[in-house]
């Protein structure tokens, strides 16, 4: 019974969450405060539990920040969780500009290029397909959509080696396209856009636009698209992060060091440093380079909180 009830409510509530992400968090506040105050003792216990958890999750990041400010000697000799006497963050950054001709910044630029080209492209395709599935009842719609949904369970890494072989046949291996084109594939994005469009764009509104003489394309751009803004931001954020984080695909399809994204590049430096190759021991660059590379994503998550919280929530009803 309860389950039957939640199914319906659930879907509605969560789609609302995307639209107005804050809304869902506002509701039960008053009642919870009363509840909490009644059991003052438990709140202390809960807070202690949370603080321990928060320390576990944040300490490695604190370590990375501290390590980024040390030179190689300091990394080995000073306390791991506190600063060394010499503050070497800026000299490390300077060295990043000169080591191997400043290739680190090239890697960072590549990561931005792949993540945005792949992410924006995937989002555009998902918006169009989601709208098509939600608002037109063409023949074969349910069958095709069923196949797309099933494909969410196909592990994308299983596709890496076949994709590599296909791309190498067409000669686009070891080019930026080899990373960007496969990143356009986001079946989950299509699914999210479809369920969102179904609720957010009323058929009556499209009908009215058509009666006023607007064509299908104009109806889509001027009536539907503005209503989809929250879901667009969500899908964009999720797919940009997905491409930025991807490791297996660029590792397989790129060999030119100039084309690597920052994740693969830093892993390469680590492998070389661990191998003990004399001139390649660049521990200070690995830590400061890692630290700089996590800043953009962490900042965008902090500033776009409203969006990702809602976005992850619609993810959960998949």
């Amino acid at each position: 019974m309860a389950i039957l009830n939640t199914r319906g409510d659930h879907a509605d509530a969560l789609t609302t969450v995307t639209g107005v992400p804050d809304h869902a968090y506002r509701g039960p506040r008053g009642q919870r405060d009363r509840d909490g105050r009644r059991k003052g003792g438990r709140r202390i216990g809960s807070h202690v539990f949370l603080i321990i958890l928060a320390i576990y999750f944040i300490v490695p990041i604190w370590w990375l920040f501290v390590a980024a400010t040390k030179d190689t000697a300091g990394l080995f000799s000073s306390p791991a969780f506190w600063f060394d006497d010499t503050f070497a963050l800026f000299s490390n950054i300077g060295e990043l500009f000169t080591h191997q001709g400043g290739i680190y910044w090239r890697w960072l630029g590549n990561s931005f290029l792949y993540a945005f080209a792949g992410g924006i492209g995937a989002t555009i395709l998902a918006i169009l397909a989601g709208y098509g599935f939600a608002k037109y009842r063409f023949r074969g719609r349910n069958g095709v959509f069923g196949v797309i949904l099933g494909s969410v369970m196909v592990p994308l890494t299983a596709l890496v080696i076949p994709t590599f072989m296909l791309l190498s046949q067409y000669g686009i291996i070891n080019t930026p396209w080899a990373v960007i084109l496969p990143s356009l594939l986001s079946p989950f994005g299509v699914y999210l856009m479809r369920i969102y469009t179904q609720d957010a764009v009323p058929d009556e509104m499209l009908e009215a636009a058509r009666i006023d003489g607007a064509g299908e394309i104009r109806t889509f751009f001027q009536v539907a698209l503005p209503l989809l803004k929250p879901a667009i931001v969500t899908v964009l954020l999720l797919s940009v992060v997905g491409t930025w984080n991807n490791f297996f695909l660029p590792l397989a399809v790129l060999t030119d060091p100039q084309l690597l994204p920052v994740t693969v590049g830093l892993n390469r430096w680590t492998a070389l440093s661990n191998a003990g190759a004399g001139g390649e021991q660049v521990w200070n660059l690995i830590t400061s380079g890692s630290f700089i590379s996590v800043i953009p994503l962490v900042l965008s998550f902090l500033f776009l909180q409203r969006y990702w919280q809602g976005g992850l929530a619609i993810g959960s009803i998949k």
């Binding site: 939640t6 409510d9 969560l14 509701g27 919870r32 509840d35 709140r43 809960s46 949370l50 928060a54 999750f57 490695p60 370590w63 390590a67 080995f76 306390p79 791991a80 969780f81 395709l125 169009l128 397909a129 098509g132 599935f133 608002k135 037109y136 009842r137 063409f138 069923g146 099933g150 369970m153 196909v154 592990p155 890494t157 299983a158 596709l159 890496v160 080696i161 076949p162 994709t163 072989m165 084109l181 594939l185 079946p187 699914y191 369920i195 179904q198 299908e216 889509f220 490791f247 297996f248 397989a252 693969v264 830093l266 890692s290 590379s293 994503l297 962490v298 965008s300 992850l312 959960s316």
Partner: protein
């Protein structure tokens, strides 16, 4: 999965069809429904090129065997017979199965406890903890694994200092006996926050008047959590587990990064994905690598489908 979603949106579609009757047979209407295909086709092109085609291509490749001596010849399911009797592949499969059994509950327990505690608190401290617990998700997996490999390292890691401070012998986190736990820790650290946000959002969408009713009936906090909150978010839990399952069986990035410093404990065939990668890129055995990748893909698909089927009551897949 397929049945589940058609079950979801369908009532809406039926309702709409009756509320806004259209001349369904009219030629104008039929021509308009064709626009659906136009909206959907860009995505379908990418879907065909980078998902359907690679899968068929990989399957085709896997049916052949090529050696220097004999050239390429058709061997049917020979590669599959070889794969499922190949101790390296079978060990890898068993290993990711063991990871799934340990790692998924570990992530889930941390995420669920954190979400339940956060749901019962509204202080600034709980809001801050929510953010801090989530931050690792914003760190690329490669960087997360790199950070932990530094922290585990006996050379410059803090573990020696920490353990000698409390008078215990320093464990070697990178030995073959301990690497399993070390990897579980990295994955738990990286993903629990993401799952926590999903579960938290589901908890927040529960109507608070239900808690009121439970309190009047004399339920305490624990009973409310176990008997009300948990059943009501079961569909979100099923989805979180499915995601974790798909992710774990494809385990690749973390062991590859840790292999830099723990060659002895992690071999090139540690997980099936790593095995396929090294077959393809170190030994150029593309046909056999295709068979491994295709088998893994099929097993992950079957595994997640089976899981969704077994939990069909919770997931809504009927």
């Amino acid at each position: 999965m397929t049945t589940q979603t058609t079950a979801g949106p369908e009532p809406v579609a039926t309702r709409r069809r009756t509320s806004a009757p259209r001349p369904r047979g009219s030629r104008l209407e039929q021509r308009r429904q064709r626009w659906g295909w136009l909206f959907v086709s860009p995505f379908l092109a990418v879907f065909a090129l980078f998902l359907v085609f690679p899968l068929f291509y990989a399957f085709g490749m896997s049916l052949f065997t090529s050696t220097l001596a004999t050239g390429t010849k058709f061997t049917g399911l020979g590669n599959y017979a070889k794969a499922f009797t190949d101790p390296l592949f079978m060990e890898g499969l068993l290993r990711v199965a063991a990871f799934a059994i340990v790692m998924i509950p570990a992530q889930l327990i941390v995420a669920l406890l954190a979400a339940l505690v956060l749901d019962s608190l509204t202080s600034w401290l709980s809001k801050l903890s929510r953010l801090l617990i989530f931050v690792p998700y914003a760190i690329p997996v490669v960087i997360g694994a790199l950070m932990w490999s530094f922290l585990y390292s006996p050379k410059f890691g803090p573990s020696a200092t920490l353990f000698t401070a409390v008078g215990l012998p320093t464990p070697d986190f990178l030995a073959s006996g301990t690497i399993f736990g070390s990897l579980v820790n990295i994955v738990t650290w990286q993903w629990s926050g993401y799952y926590m946000v999903v579960i938290y959002a589901a908890l927040r969408s529960i109507d608070p008047s239900i808690y009121e009713a439970a309190r009047i009936d004399g339920a305490n906090g624990l009973q409310t959590a176990l008997r009300i909150k948990l059943p009501m978010i079961s569909s979100s839990m099923v989805m979180v587990i499915t995601f974790a399952l798909i992710g774990t069986l494809q385990f690749f990035t973390e062991p590859v990064v840790l292999r830099n410093i723990a060659q002895g404990a992690i071999d090139a065939a540690y997980t099936p994905n790593m095995y396929a990668y090294s077959l393809a890129f170190s030994y150029s055995q593309f046909n056999y690598a295709s068979a491994i990748a295709f088998s893994l893909g099929a097993l992950v698909f079957a595994g997640s489908y089976l899981f969704l089927f077994l939990t069909r009551k919770q997931s809504g897949l009927k």
